[in-house]
């Protein structure tokens, strides 16, 4: 027979005004198993808590029900008090007679009766509760960062500087991401490479960071604190340990006409290449799809000229596995190409370019050494048109959302153009100017007021070429939709920011959710913006939604703090409110029949398979379900799926819940 204590709180007048607290206590005192019952003005106050503690000791209570405010308010308070008095904290339940009773009903018998019923339900539940212990899960204190853009770089450095090991994997031959392609950056116009390159070098040299470029995640198993990552190291066809990065091979390679990804097709590269001069690591890879050796079995020039014999044509992709405790996703974004736009020529006009291509033209390290020249004939455009929202905010053909960064970089582009071509004329067609950031509006105004950029509010209907000019047909909606036609030399489209290629596939590998546009989804849009729904996997940067550099870096540092916070604990402590498959002595072992309905139901992949083997022969007698306590979040979905009632939830077991329901309905 249990010994339960019931403590009814008046909450000043909050409860006592409509509920007869004394009557509740007196009635509860008569319930089966109740050893002690009382009421008091403020249970959560120190004297109130002492009342509970003393009663536990004095009456040797093995269960406590506090009838008070919502458990969402003071459950931790009362559980802690119980614990201090030597009672297992999970033997304490809170009956909500304030939010669910005294505050929502008028004073009267029905209200007091409801309070009594609620207490009765929890008395029955607590008498079936079991002492539970918090769960401790070990943590591997090493992080995996996927993607080496500014987000991945920042997150890696922050985690590494906090004293933890980091594995950084980057799909391309160099880290740097989109930021390395930018010319100057809003809102300060500092040179992108100048501020980025030192950080790239720091990553390469940091003792806590292991960098794998030309690498991709193959597989991720396990759970928070205990992941196992399999990484594919794509064959670079060179031995990085031997290569000195002298560059002889790249100058000699005869395959020179491959459009450079880094220069967005505005320049060429060779088959063996370093994507850009400041690349980290600054060692080449061979692009097998274009190399004559791989495609036709000829050439081999690079092998012959390499002074250190670093070229290894025979290299295959290799795989490594790493144990890690947390993962940071930082795979970034991409922009639509111009061929996406029918009305702007399906990409057939050479002088209609994307904003990213403009960055390469404006960049001192770009194909024109920073001079704005049109791709078709190298002339300096005297009239240039920028079209904002190209594909963004276009539910019909593009994407419905606002890409967020393009208003700002378009203002920057127009400004850079005016700085470089003093007598040039620039026009921006826009729908709205979204410049909601520190110094952003000022930046846009500067473009208009100081640099004389002509802003026209209206969307461009079409662009076509005539006599070497691009005819841009727009409208000025502020002048009653008056048609505006501009004969431009070059048109720059602020093409929509979209999820990176392969994002959906990667999300599925990691079991993280993603939105309809394949951007990774945060656990909560406001309060958990750098976490995913999968414990131990975090988000940084533009893989979540288009973001500018300040937002990206802030998010990356946020994700890093989450990782560092996780790693700062000796091990992972979790509430024991998790599912458990019953076990019993042989020959039954468990009532689990191995149907694995629970496995299909669990949203967290927490159900594993356990083989019960004969101790002598080692033969498998039975395969049953087993809950991984590291993964289980305690949702209980499995419990309602199990037909043989073999899996149950600690703290919300079938027995406990049946008893509570039954008692609630008693009268």
């Amino acid at each position: 027979m249990s010994k339960i204590g019931v403590f009814v709180c008046h909450c000043g007048e909050n409860i006592a005004a409509t509920v007869d607290c004394e009557k509740v206590a007196n009635t509860a005192a008569k319930f089966d198993g109740v050893e002690f019952a009382t009421d008091y003005k403020y249970m959560c106050s120190d004297p109130g808590q002492n009342l509970i503690k003393n009663a536990i000791k004095e009456h040797h209570l093995d269960g406590v029900v506090v009838a008070s405010c919502s458990p969402r308010m003071h459950e931790p308070t009362f559980r802690k008090a119980c614990s201090e008095a030597g009672l297992n904290p999970f033997m304490c339940e809170v009956a909500n007679i304030r939010e669910h009773c005294s505050w929502v009903h008028e004073k009267g018998d029905a209200t007091t009766q409801k309070a009594i019923d609620i207490v009765r339900g929890l008395v029955e539940k607590v008498s079936r509760d079991h002492p539970l212990e918090s769960i401790h899960v070990p943590i591997t204190k090493k992080a995996l960062v996927i993607g080496g853009g500014i987000a991945g770089i920042q997150a890696s450095l922050d985690i590494a500087n906090a004293g933890h090991k980091v594995i950084l994997i980057e799909r391309d031959p160099s880290i740097g991401g989109h930021m390395s392609q930018l010319s100057e950056t809003f809102p300060t116009l500092d040179c992108s490479q100048c501020i980025l390159t030192p950080r790239m070098v720091e990553v390469a040299q940091h003792p806590n960071i292991t960098l794998y470029t030309y690498a991709e995640l193959e597989k991720l198993e396990g759970f928070i604190g205990n992941f196992k990552a399999t990484i594919r190291l794509k064959a670079k066809s060179i031995d990085e340990d031997v290569c000195t990065g002298c560059g002889t091979c790249t100058t000699k390679c005869p395959t020179k006409k491959i459009p450079s990804e880094f220069n967005q097709g505005l320049g060429n590269r060779t088959a063996i290449y370093v994507p850009f001069p400041q690349a980290v690591p600054n060692k080449p890879v061979i692009d097998k799809d274009h190399c004559l050796h791989y495609q036709k079995g000829v050439c081999g020039l690079c092998e012959k000229v390499c002074p250190t014999h670093a070229i290894h044509f025979g290299q295959d992709d290799s795989f490594i596995t790493e144990d890690v405790g947390a993962v940071v996703l930082a795979t970034g974004f991409n922009v639509l190409n111009t061929d996406f736009f029918p009305e702007y020529g399906y990409g057939k006009y050479k002088d209609v370019i994307t904003g990213l291509q403009f960055e390469r033209l404006a960049s001192a390290s770009g194909p024109t050494s920073g001079e704005i020249r049109r791709p078709s004939d190298g002339k300096i455009p005297q009239k240039i048109v920028f079209i904002a929202c190209a594909g963004s905010r276009d539910p019909a053909k593009g994407i419905p959302y606002c890409s967020k960064i393009c208003c700002m970089y378009t203002a920057k582009h127009a400004m850079l153009y005016q700085h470089k071509v003093h007598d040039g004329e620039s026009t921006v067609f826009y729908m709205d100017i979204r410049a909601a950031g520190k110094n952003y509006e000022e930046f846009v105004r500067r473009a208009i007021e100081e640099d004389g950029v002509n802003y026209v509010r209206g969307r461009v209907a079409r662009v076509y070429e005539k006599d070497g000019k691009l005819i841009v047909k727009g409208v000025d909606t502020l002048l009653g939709a008056k048609p505006v036609e501009i004969e431009a030399d070059m048109v720059v489209l602020a093409t929509a920011g979209v999820a990176n290629a392969g994002a959906e596939e990667l999300a599925q590998k990691l079991h993280v959710s993603y939105d309809p546009y394949h951007f990774f989804a945060e656990a909560h849009p406001k309060l958990r913006p750098v976490e995913t729904n999968t414990a131990g996997i975090y988000l940084a940067g533009a893989c979540q939604a288009p973001k500018d550099i300040p937002d990206t870096v802030a998010a990356a540092s946020g994700a890093a703090v989450k990782v560092a916070g996780l790693f700062s604990q000796p091990d992972l402590v979790r509430e024991p409110i998790i599912a458990k498959v019953n076990r019993m002595p042989p020959p039954v072992f468990s009532t689990c029949v191995g149907c694995f309905m629970c496995e299909t139901a669990c949203p967290y992949n927490a159900i594993e398979r356990e083989e019960i083997k004969d101790r002598r022969s080692g033969k498998v007698i039975k395969t049953i379900a087993k809950v991984n306590p590291g993964l289980c979040q305690g949702c209980g979905t499995c419990v309602s799926f199990c037909r043989s009632k073999s899996i149950d939830m600690q703290g919300f077991s079938n027995e406990e819940m049946f008893a509570e329901v039954q008692a609630l309905l008693e009268d």
């Binding site: 919502s70 458990p71 969402r72 909500n96 304030r98 939010e99 669910h100 009773c101 505050w103 929502v104 009903h105 008028e106 029905a110 209200t111 009766q113 409801k114 019923d117 609620i118 339900g121 959710s513 729904n533 409110i577 139901a601 949203p603 967290y604 979040q633 305690g634 949702c635 209980g636 979905t637 419990v639 309602s640 799926f641 939830m649 919300f652 079938n654 819940m657 049946f658 509570e660 329901v661 039954q662 609630l664 309905l665 008693e666």
Partner: protein, 152 residues
């Protein structure tokens, strides 16, 4: 609504999830909204945990009506528990129908942590609906039939 039913005070149990509806009901309280006393709340971690055997149990113990409520689709604290609950509800509904149980006695709904007023409305609507349906006496006969079947 008939005269006799006016007097009848239905007994209703609400099975709600901890993260949304329980908090929504808390909000109704902090906002001092008033609603009928007939509904008693049982807290679950997630609607996914709400086993429909429990609903039968509630009817067996004399409940006249039941509310099942959790987070809105896509807001589930546990990503998908409420989807499972909804899927199971569709199946279960058919089963209840087949057993001869009046599905109008179970209200399935979503209330978020911010919808205190919605919770109050749902309680009042459910009480009115169940009151109109009258006490749930048939369940006992259905249950005894099942017992007889089982005994055979």
């Amino acid at each position: 609504m008939s005269e006799t039913n006016q007097e009848f005070e239905p007994r209703i149990v609400a099975f709600v999830c901890n993260w949304c509806t329980y908090a929504g009901a808390d909000l109704a309280g902090t906002s001092r909204l008033k609603y009928a006393t007939n509904v008693k709340i049982v807290r679950f971690p997630c609607t996914g945990r709400i086993d429909f055997m429990l609903l039968l149990k509630a009817f067996e113990e004399g409940a006249d009506g039941i509310i099942v409520s959790g987070c809105h689709p896509n807001d589930c604290h546990y990503t998908s528990g409420n989807f499972h609950a909804r899927r199971r509800w569709t199946v279960f509904r058919g089963l209840l129908d087949f057993m001869g149980i009046d599905v109008r006695r179970i209200h399935f709904t979503w209330v978020s942590a911010a919808e205190g007023a919605k919770w109050a409305d749902i309680v009042n609507e459910t009480v009115a609906d169940i009151r109109a349906l009258g006490p749930y006496d048939e369940y006992k006969s259905i249950a005894s039939n099942f017992e007889k079947e089982a005994a055979k």
